[in-house]
Amino acid sequence: MEAKAHAHKEFGPLQYVIVWGALLVLTAITVAVWKTHWSLGTRVTVALSVATVKAGLVALFFMHLWEHGGVNRLVMATSLLFVALLIGLVIADNATRFEYANPPYSSSWTRAPFEDAAPPLQEQPPPVEGVPEAAPH
């Protein structure tokens, strides 16, 4: 009885190849995003969304969560929730700190802290020198 039910839902080689094809297409999209001139925020959002879709395809079809999900889906979903929790709250901390409580010359440092600090600090954080030409940006 179970075998029939499983045979009904169980995927064959064709389904797996289709999923594989979709993953390749999504990978191409991700790389294509890299070549655009969109802002960092947009590129991060698109790239992570595409990665999430790819991960979903792998989890649901290659890892059979679609077929016999149930409690295992809950396990994975719960762990992802806590991933988001850890990353989210830690960034919320760094994003709202007193500016010099973050590492030196990080994005919250807006000006030199003390005038007579040694070595003398520049008005702005030091620039990132030597941007390589390989980038299309």
Binding site: V71, T78, S79, F82, L85, L86, L89, V90, A92, D93, N94, A95, T96, R97, F98, A101, N102, P103, P104, Y105, S106
Partner: protein
């Protein structure tokens, strides 16, 4: 299966203790009961070791200046005490001993889901413990059990073995958690629905979830500290753009849920003990069951209250402070329900019940001081003082160890088929409770007066209370020693216990004492709830 009648018959039939003889049969066993007994030996040894270092600390603090050691040694002492107590006792003890022994029995199962992995966790415990303790002896880390960067990454003392040992111990904890979750999901006897599960099982389930989700974060974080110390990549080093507070975030993301790994199993035991000794069903079964899950879940949201004075933003501190108060609600639900269970119950005052009373009192004060500490403006004054030390010792020693002792005394006859001396047990319980109060109430006062923690010398005005605390610690240690002595001697001299000396309705008591190797000759079919004290009492077979 009906409990066997004659106590002599119990010792004539093969139980799990005497079924196979020889060290090798123990070292290669897959029987969850034998694994539980091995854990008992190991965690008791660890507790004695950690307690020994605690006594050394208290002796050092007898006088304001150096007493028996120098500052560096003192730092090593409290690191040793913390690492051993937390990783070698508090985290593994109740799940490893009572979880292993009683989870299958309460589920009507023959064993846990993965018996060989279960045995493997014992070996992981041993290996991790050996490496950590060896590392401490080698050159001994002085960072405190919290390994804060940048000190832990730059100290000259040996940190790597302790980190590695803790990592391996974490693996043991994770595998235990996985085992228990799968066991509870897949090995329940027919008819045992979730709402008929003993509350012990609910709390162990919640604990296992935390073990699985939180421990890997600690493992990786400690690994990063080891890598940092060895190679100096700078992940927590401001000179290279690193953030030392990131370490604290990552560390406490595990270590706060870890305290719920320690206290939830204690609550698991207490839920069983209170029903057996009030001879009454728990008040509010669903509330207690779901509050365990609530603690496990919300306990993950509050770690930042350890970072209030670290440089964390006030915005984040505010969030964490408020969330920390929410988690207290679930504990409060349990405390109210346990107390309500006593109302109109037929209370039997024996050692487990005395420990339960101690547990309740200590949990309340420990928990309330925790809520006070979660108020950011108050914590600024109390952080890193003895107030915090007293708070967590109230929960960890006061509540958790009382619960461990309650469980040990409740289930001793089931596990070993012997009763201990009730008079000695009551006397020791009183000693332990009094000794505990004498040790840690002075520490609340010291902390409020401003005495910092982890300091080996202190100003003269703190002298009297420190002496009082050390005197209390001696009393406490003496109480524990008495417990050890009468329990061990009961194995030889104790009266033979019948299958159910307490008249408990818990399902695990439907087996002989000690249980057979095979828990149940045939799979039981469960038709009733977990305890059902409203039914007419079964024959309570008292010890002869």
């Amino acid at each position: 299966m009906s409990p066997s009648a004659a106590s002599e018959a119990v010792y004539n039939s093969p139980n799990y203790l005497n079924a196979e003889a020889g060290i090798r049969s123990w070292l290669t066993t897959r029987d969850h009961k034998r694994i539980a007994v091995m854990y008992l030996g190991l965690v008791v040894a660890a507790f004695a070791l950690g307690g020994f270092f605690a006594l050394l600390i208290r002796v050092e603090l007898l006088t304001p200046g150096p007493t028996i050691m120098d500052a560096m040694t003192y730092n090593r002492m409290f690191t040793l005490h913390g690492v051993i107590m937390i990783f070698l006792f508090m985290i593994p003890a109740i799940p490893g001993v009572f979880g292993n022994f009683f989870l299958p029995l309460m589920l009507g199962a023959q064993d846990v889901a993965f018996p060989r992995i279960n045995l493997f966790t014992v070996y992981l415990y041993l290996i991790g413990a050996a490496i950590a303790v060896w590392g401490m002896i080698q050159g001994g880390t002085d960072t405190g059990w919290t390994f804060y960067t940048p000190y832990s990454t730059t100290t000259v003392t040996t940190v790597a073995p302790v980190l590695l040992g803790a990592f391996i111990l974490g693996m043991s904890s994770i595998l235990t958690g996985v085992n228990f979750i799968v066991t509870i999901h897949t090995l329940r006897a027919p008819g045992l629905t979730w709402m008929r599960l003993p509350l012990f099982v609910w709390a162990i389930y919640a604990t296992s979830i935390i073990q699985v989700l939180a421990t890997p974060v600690l493992g990786m974080t400690l690994l990063l500290v080891a890598v940092e110390k060895a190679f100096g990549f700078g992940i927590f080093d401001p000179a290279r753009g690193g953030d030392p507070i990131l370490f604290q975030h990552l560390f406490w993301f595990y270590s706060h849920p870890a305290v719920y790994i320690m206290v939830l199993p204690a609550m698991a035991v207490v839920s069983e003990v209170v029903q057996a000794f009030a001879r009454k069903n728990i008040f509010g079964y669903k509330a207690v069951a779901f509050s365990s899950l609530g603690i496990a879940f919300v306990g993950f949201f509050v770690w930042g209250h350890h970072l209030f004075t670290s440089g964390q933003s006030t915005f984040a501190s505010g969030i964490f402070g408020v969330l920390s108060m929410f988690v207290g609600i679930f504990t409060a639900i349990k405390v109210f329900n346990w107390t309500a269970t006593l109302y109109k119950g037929a209370i039997h005052v024996a050692a487990p019940f005395v420990y339960f009373l101690g547990f309740l009192y200590f949990l309340m004060f420990g928990g309330l001081t925790g809520i006070a500490l979660s108020t950011v403006s108050l914590d600024v004054h109390w952080q890193d003082t003895y107030f915090v030390v007293a708070h967590f010792h109230f929960i960890m020693v006061g509540a958790t160890i009382m619960a461990f002792l309650a469980g040990l005394h409740y289930w001793w006859p089931k596990m070993f088929g012997r009763m201990y001396s009730e008079r000695w047990a009551l006397a020791a319980a009183v000693l332990v409770i009094l000794g505990f109060n004498a040790t840690f109430i002075p520490q609340f006062l010291l902390g409020n007066m401003g005495m910092p923690r982890r300091y080996y010398s202190y100003p003269e005005q703190f002298w009297p209370l420190n002496v009082a605390s050390t005197a209390g610690a001696s009393l406490l240690a003496f109480g524990f020693l008495i417990v050890l002595i009468y329990l061990v001697t009961s194995l030889v001299n104790g009266k033979v216990a019948g299958p159910n000396p307490w008249g408990s309705r818990g399902y695990e008591w439907n087996t002989p004492s000690p249980p057979n190797v095979l828990n149940f000759p045939e799979t039981p079919v469960i038709t009733r709830g977990a305890h059902e004290y409203q039914d007419p009492p079964a024959e309570a077979t008292h010890a002869h």
